[in-house]
């Protein structure tokens, strides 16, 4: 009887049921879309962070920012003007440690021994600026006549007269090439920036190549400079053989070239120095604890976690993320609350219209609980219908977002707050450099989101049922005897 009565009543009040279900559906669909878009934002942010950190890194440790010295880090280039007609190419390159701040290699071991640290790997980030080009001598041109190399002027005016004219042409033509090099610990390749790239050609480093003159080149840089496996690349006079080409999983690669750490230290004249220590925590729930332990026990360091770095993300990704978590969340809550209220009021009003019906049932001996259950049952089915409709609309919305896949721009590290990751990033600007990445937004719908939607549908039904049930439970059976007006 319960289900027969429920089914017939819902069919009779189709329009009201549809209004209640649609309201709930709208709220639930919004929750699904907002939460899936938020999840997509989070994934996009993770991708951006992974491109800096590499996979598996929970935090980076860098030297604490110090007051900049008096131009100590600025590269100087010296070129000589050679013989009169020598216009041969001159070349000079400078290898600079990114951020100009280094930690002793022993710090890696110290950090590795800290409580909660599963693994720690050091790396040295370098900036190489190469300037090459040539000088050209200018030509002296005498006024009113062709260029003359000698001092003799036009005759008749006295031999002591200086020739009148000007130097034309000549000057210098130099090309500046700046690229990044990352010195990686070839014995510990599970952590560090190279993990965010895949070797697409050749191979990665062998554990035995700790001091070998071999390099892995980023595919984008390889394409630009026409580099390939088997070719060589010269850095500061040292020739490295390219053994592999890597492609970043997302966004830009962490460096243009990867070489063994020892080689990088030699090039930068930074023996036993690293710029960044990549740390993996034993328990991902304990990251904050590990961070404070390292900060406490290893003085003079700055520890940057993924969460810290996420705070430096700006650009449209950040704006969209703020929108999703701010406006989207509150819009969902507002719509859901309104939908719950409307559902409750409509159910209550439906009970008011059925006073005689419920009064009759009570007069026939139906207990209040049974009548209330009937009302709650109907409201619950309405809620579930709304849930099904909402999930369908929400999934469709999430599918559309994923299909359209709008591109968001993420700008990292521009705040220059001394984050390790920010400092690690490429570009000759050092600590204040920022990096812009384009990330395609997706809207993945997780099982938990669906479960939340179902729970909301049930909650909506129960709230509406509570309104109606309360009203029904208060009905007097004597109401059944009221005359028709």
């Amino acid at each position: 009887m319960f289900f027969t009565y429920l089914r017939r009543e819902l069919r009779r009040r189709r329009k009201a049921a549809l209004v209640v279900a649609s309201g709930l559906a709208l709220g639930i669909a919004l929750v699904i879309i907002v939460s899936s878009v938020s999840s997509g934002m989070s994934k996009a942010q993770d991708k951006v962070l992974e491109s800096l950190y590499g996979l598996g890194t929970d935090m980076t440790v860098t030297k604490a920012a110090a007051a900049p010295g008096s131009g100590s880090g600025r590269p100087k280039f010296e070129f000589d003007a050679k013989g009169n007609d020598d216009d041969s190419n001159q070349s000079s390159d400078r290898v600079l440690v990114q951020g100009f701040q280094t930690l002793a290699s022993s710090t890696v071991d110290t950090i590795g021994k800290q409580d909660g640290v599963a693994d720690a790997v050091g790396g040295l980030s370098l900036n190489v600026m190469k300037v090459d080009g040539q000088f050209k001598r200018g030509e002296f041109r005498q006024e009113g006549g062709p260029a003359q190399g000698g001092p003799s002027g036009p005759g008749g005016e006295g031999g002591s007269t200086q020739p009148q004219g000007e130097v034309r042409g000549g000057g210098a033509s130099f090309d500046v090439n700046s690229y990044t090099v990352y010195g990686t610990d070839v014995t510990e390749q599970a952590l560090g920036p190279l993990t965010s790239s895949k070797i697409t050609k050749g191979r990665t480093f062998k554990a035995s190549e700790t001091d070998a003159e071999v390099a892995v080149v980023d595919s984008a840089y390889a394409k630009e400079k026409k580099l390939a496996v088997g070719k060589t690349v010269t850095i500061h006079g040292t020739e490295f053989t390219i053994v592999g080409v890597s492609t970043a999983d997302s966004g830009d690669a962490a460096a243009n070239l990867y070489i063994p750490l020892k080689q990088a230290q030699t090039l930068a004249d930074s023996k036993n120095k690293v710029t960044t220590v990549y740390v993996k925590a034993s328990d991902s729930q304990q990251i904050d604890h590990v961070k404070s332990t390292i900060q406490k026990n290893v003085s003079g360091t700055t520890v940057t976690t993924s969460a810290d770095l996420a705070d430096t993300v700006s650009g449209s990704l950040s704006t969209a993320s703020d929108l999703a978590s701010g406006v989207g969340k509150w819009l969902s809550i507002a719509v859901l609350t309104a939908a719950f209220l409307v559902a409750g009021l409509l159910t209550s009003s439906a009970v008011s219209r059925r006073v005689r019906e419920f009064g009759t049932l009570k007069a026939l001996g139906w207990k209040s609980g049974r009548v209330t259950r009937q009302v709650v049952g109907e409201a619950l089915v309405n809620g579930l219908l709304g849930g099904v409709l909402g999930i369908a609309v929400g999934l469709a919305g999430a599918y559309v977002v994923t299909a359209v896949s709008p591109t968001l721009t993420a700008q990292l590290g521009s705040s220059g707050v001394g984050m390790g990751g920010g400092r690690f990033m490429g570009g000759p600007g050092g600590p204040s450099a920022s990096r812009t990445l384009d990330v395609a937004l997706t809207a993945p719908v997780s099982l938990s989101t669906i479960l939340i939607a179902v729970a909301l549908a049930v909650a909506g039904g129960l709230i509406a049922g509570a309104f109606g049930g309360w009203r029904a439970s208060r009905l007097r059976p004597a109401d059944a005897l009221r005359r028709v007006e």
């Binding site: 027969t4 049932l361 059944a480």
Partner: protein, 227 residues
């Protein structure tokens, strides 16, 4: 048997107090038939509500077979209604979305039992009021007289001791009125019920062996030996 002693029912609305029932004393024997008549607002429906355990008196007692309905808990009162009292209403009060058979079944739901047994008894009750062919019809598909017969079947399917009818012919035309009254009288005779009916219809009232006239909350009993 019903025994009402000094039953008073007052309704207070703002500063106005209405004495719907004012010191009613009444006895109704088992198997008896009583017709209640009186002007609108005289207290007829209030008296019926007291007899049916749908409302409680402000003071006095309403005993059914020695049990004071005024003092029973809501749950016990609901059980008494479910087991012993059948109601027939002026507006039929059928559930519009349920078929005739399902409507009759609603009276058996509080008594428990299997659905198949409920269906069988409901079909039998409808057959007894001449609607054996209309089991699957919705109220909207039936005439007023047929709907009231469904309501009578619903009231009687649980074999109650008492049948209370509130203006059962009030919404029917003359031919249907006779049809319904015939069914009610037949059922009263066949089932040995205590049958109490409120009516405005003097023709029906004249056919009753006992008439209770209620004015301003006070009851006067008239015996009709000719009926």
């Amino acid at each position: 048997m019903y025994t009402l002693r000094d039953v008073t029912k007052r309704y207070t609305r703002g500063k106005t107090t209405v004495h719907a029932l004012d010191g009613v004393d009444l006895t109704i024997e088992d198997g008896g038939r009583l017709v209640i008549q009186g002007p609108t607002g005289g207290g007829k429906s209030t008296l019926l509500q007291m007899l049916g355990g749908l409302d409680r008196p402000t003071s006095g007692s309403v005993e059914l077979d020695g049990v004071d309905l005024a003092k029973l808990s809501e749950a016990r009162l609901t059980t008494v209604r479910a087991q012993n009292i059948g109601f027939v209403f002026q507006s039929f009060n059928l559930i519009p979305t349920l078929t005739a058979q399902e409507n009759v079944e609603t009276a058996l739901v509080p008594l428990g039992g299997k659905a198949a047994e409920r269906r069988r008894r409901a079909a039998e009750a409808l057959d007894s009021v001449g609607l054996g062919e209309r089991l699957g019809h919705l109220p909207g598909e039936m005439s007023g007289g047929q709907q009231q017969r469904v309501a009578i079947a619903r009231a009687l399917v649980k074999q109650p001791k008492v049948l209370l009818a509130d203006e059962p012919t009030g919404n029917l035309d003359e031919s249907m009125r006779d049809e319904v009254m015939e069914v009610l009288e037949t059922m009263w005779k066949e089932h040995g019920l205590t049958f109490i009916m409120v009516t405005h219809d003097s023709a029906i009232a004249r056919r009753a062996p006992r008439l209770a006239t209620i004015r301003k909350g006070r009851v006067t009993i008239t015996e009709n030996a000719a009926a």
